[in-house]
């Protein structure tokens, strides 16, 4: 029983990171029909940018600031201007395929310019354990969970309680009408790309100390985020959060209770089941089919 509780906490911690990545993923889909197959690589890259800055001799916090700034520039603005804007007119599928090519490109770039070996990455959360209600819990797990929850709360507050958030939702739900009532739709779409870039940088900061910085990290992370987004519901931010947490827990539990060999299969089977029986996800609304 105690083992189960530990697994749950560790699962929620990784799940919270998946949730952050999945939320960014769904935001891009909602505002600009972008299925970002490079989302996992987007999470992998900021850690490498930060490592490069630290390699140049800067302290950790400076590296974090520059790393986040660079990912806003490259993965937010650059991604939108150089890839999404020119591809969007070709339709959803060519754009998705272009992001697959981008994923290969980013992965190879990290391998070439940095290293094919895994590099250690410092954690912003101090190591060690703390005791809560007589139980020993890794500070790392709690810290990740708290930071991720704060990020998600911040985002939902932004989306639901502020004027900018309402404008973003309007731009996502019906761009034509939003434009008529005076919402600067283009700026709102750019904002979602920047938010996504920030979220992936944050996820990178949280997960890389656990996984080490490796060029192939994106594959696992990207797949986990896709599955979280689909299981939760592609068109709902809270769906993506629930999906992320669920996948994190399922992942950890199946590592312990299913064979380690087929651990990776459990979330995939869950994904196929959800797509077959409830394609809109646990919390999503069905999308209307258009002719």
């Amino acid at each position: 029983m105690s083992n189960l509780l530990d697994l749950l906490i560790a699962g929620l911690a990784t799940g919270a990171i998946y949730a952050i990545v999945a939320v960014g993923f769904t935001l891009l889909w909602q505002t600009s029909q972008t299925i970002n197959f490079a989302q996992g690589e987007f999470v992998m890259l900021p850690a490498f940018l930060m490592l490069a800055v630290m390699h140049a001799g800067a302290p950790f916090w400076v590296a974090i600031v520059i790393g986040i700034a660079l990912s806003l520039l490259l993965l937010g603005l650059g991604f939108k201007l150089l890839l999404v804007d020119p591809m969007l007119r070709h339709g959803v599928l060519p754009l998705a395929i272009a992001t697959m090519a981008l994923a290969i490109g980013i992965k190879e770039a990290a391998k070439q310019f940095w290293s094919a070996e895994a590099s250690p990455f410092p954690s912003i959360i101090p190591g060690g354990d703390i005791t809560i209600f007589g139980r020993i819990v890794a500070l790392q797990s709690i810290g990740v969970l708290v930071l991720a929850i704060l990020a998600v709360l911040g985002l939902t507050t932004l989306l639901n309680r502020t004027s900018i958030g309402h404008q973003m939702q309007a731009a996502a739900q019906n761009p034509t009408v939003a434009r008529i009532v005076g919402v600067p739709v283009e700026r709102m779409i750019l904002l979602t790309f920047l938010i996504n870039a920030f979220l992936v940088a944050l996820a990178s900061l949280l997960i890389t100390p656990i996984y080490l910085a490796k060029f192939s990290n994106g594959e696992v992370l990207g797949q986990a985020a896709f599955i979280a987004a689909i299981v939760g519901g592609f068109n709902q931010v809270r769906g993506a959060i629930a999906g992320g947490l669920l996948i994190g827990v399922v992942d950890n539990l199946s590592a312990a209770y299913v064979s380690t060999q087929y651990r990776a299969a459990v979330p995939l089977v869950l994904l196929i089941a959800i797509i077959l029986f409830r394609p809109q996800g646990m919390m999503g609304r069905p999308e209307e089919r258009t002719v």
């Binding site: 299925i35 395929i97 070439q112 299969a265």
Partner: protein, 331 residues
């Protein structure tokens, strides 16, 4: 139009003759690369049927190549002939492809991409973990090459001809298929599924068929892949093979008959020519693919097609202008 056909047929004959004659004095490695091109073209043609003609995304083609390769590896190393393995691979991939098509009846686009992606990863796990069948990470080695009509193909050149011959047979079959009512139904499915349905096309059956036939071609490619490399382990059939095959179809030109030939040539031969770029090759390839997609989402043949149709329109409007001038000057 018939006059324009002869240069095309002539060009085709020259290319086929070159593919047969030129490699005769190639070394072992050159023949391996060319055989690999033939095998990958078959797999990409299958994906082109599913994606290019029927418009159904699949990220699982690499898994079907894997299934075919394992079928060939397991059966031929137990003394069964390759042709039996081919039959098993085709039936197996057809059936699994058919089943994998079912989600496509419910969901489209990215959802379908994810289902097939999940299938691809599951297949990889089975290849890696079912030691009793696939020998796991150690792989199956010393896969024999077949005898064709009693003639051994152990040496690289005869086996290259096996691959080329198979490519020829598959190409003819696909050529016939896309010109049959089935091919037209596939295109109708891609262009507008609702209209296709309202015209009385059984979209359900054709969607499943598009998956099943495309997957079976992946299986055929796999049964050639195993005797070609003579060693099969799970690594080559990772998700990245499916992505590579998708890139081949897209780069060459999805929905064009010759797209996979060109795409596979670029994907297989270009790394050899670009050796000097060392590890940067894949990065440059990815950037080039993105650039190409921005310029022309239907690939290289799409550019060619656009160029030709523009020239035709120009020629036609020039003729019209002449005709108009004549009409106006006429009394």
């Amino acid at each position: 139009m018939t006059a324009a056909k002869y240069p095309k047929i002539g060009f085709g004959i020259v290319v086929i003759a070159a593919l047969i004659i030129v490699p005769m004095n190639f070394n072992r490695y050159g023949l391996f690369i060319l055989s690999q091109w033939a095998v990958m073209t078959i797999a990409a043609m299958g994906l082109n049927l599913t994606l290019g003609y029927a418009g159904q995304v699949s990220l699982a083609q690499g898994a079907f190549v894997g299934i075919g390769a394992y079928a060939a590896a397991i059966m031929t190393s137990n003394g069964l002939p390759l042709i039996a393995a081919l039959g098993v691979a085709i039936v197996l991939c057809f059936v699994i492809g058919w089943i994998l098509g079912y989600p496509a009846l419910r969901v489209q686009h990215h959802y379908l991409a994810f289902v097939t992606l999940a299938f691809s990863t599951l297949a990889f796990l089975v290849f890696r973990n079912e030691d009793w069948l696939t020998k796991g990470i150690y792989g199956i080695s010393n896969i024999p090459r077949p005898e064709i009509f009693g003639y051994p193909t152990r040496r690289p050149l005869p086996f290259y001809y096996v691959c080329l011959g198979s490519l020829g047979i598959v190409s003819l079959a696909v050529w016939w298929l896309i010109r049959s009512p089935w091919g037209r139904a596939f295109i109708a499915l891609r262009e507008n599924p609702v209209r296709a349905l309202s015209l009385g096309i059984d979209t359900r059956r054709y969607t499943l068929m598009a998956f099943a036939i495309g997957s079976a071609l992946g299986g055929i490619a796999g049964t050639l892949y195993a005797p070609l490399t003579q060693y099969v382990d799970p690594v080559p059939f990772h998700l990245s093979l499916s992505l590579d095959l998708l890139m081949m179809v897209i780069v060459g030109g999805s929905g064009f008959f010759f797209g996979p030939f060109l795409g596979a040539m670029i994907a297989v031969l270009l790394p050899e020519w670009l050796r000097f770029t060392q590890g940067y090759y894949l990065m440059l390839y990815a950037i080039a693919v993105i650039g190409l997609l921005i310029y022309s989402p239907t690939g290289i043949l799409g550019i060619l097609d656009r160029f030709i149709s523009e020239r035709r329109t120009k020629a036609a409007s020039a003729l019209r202008a002449v005709a108009k001038a004549k009409l106006e000057t006429a009394p």
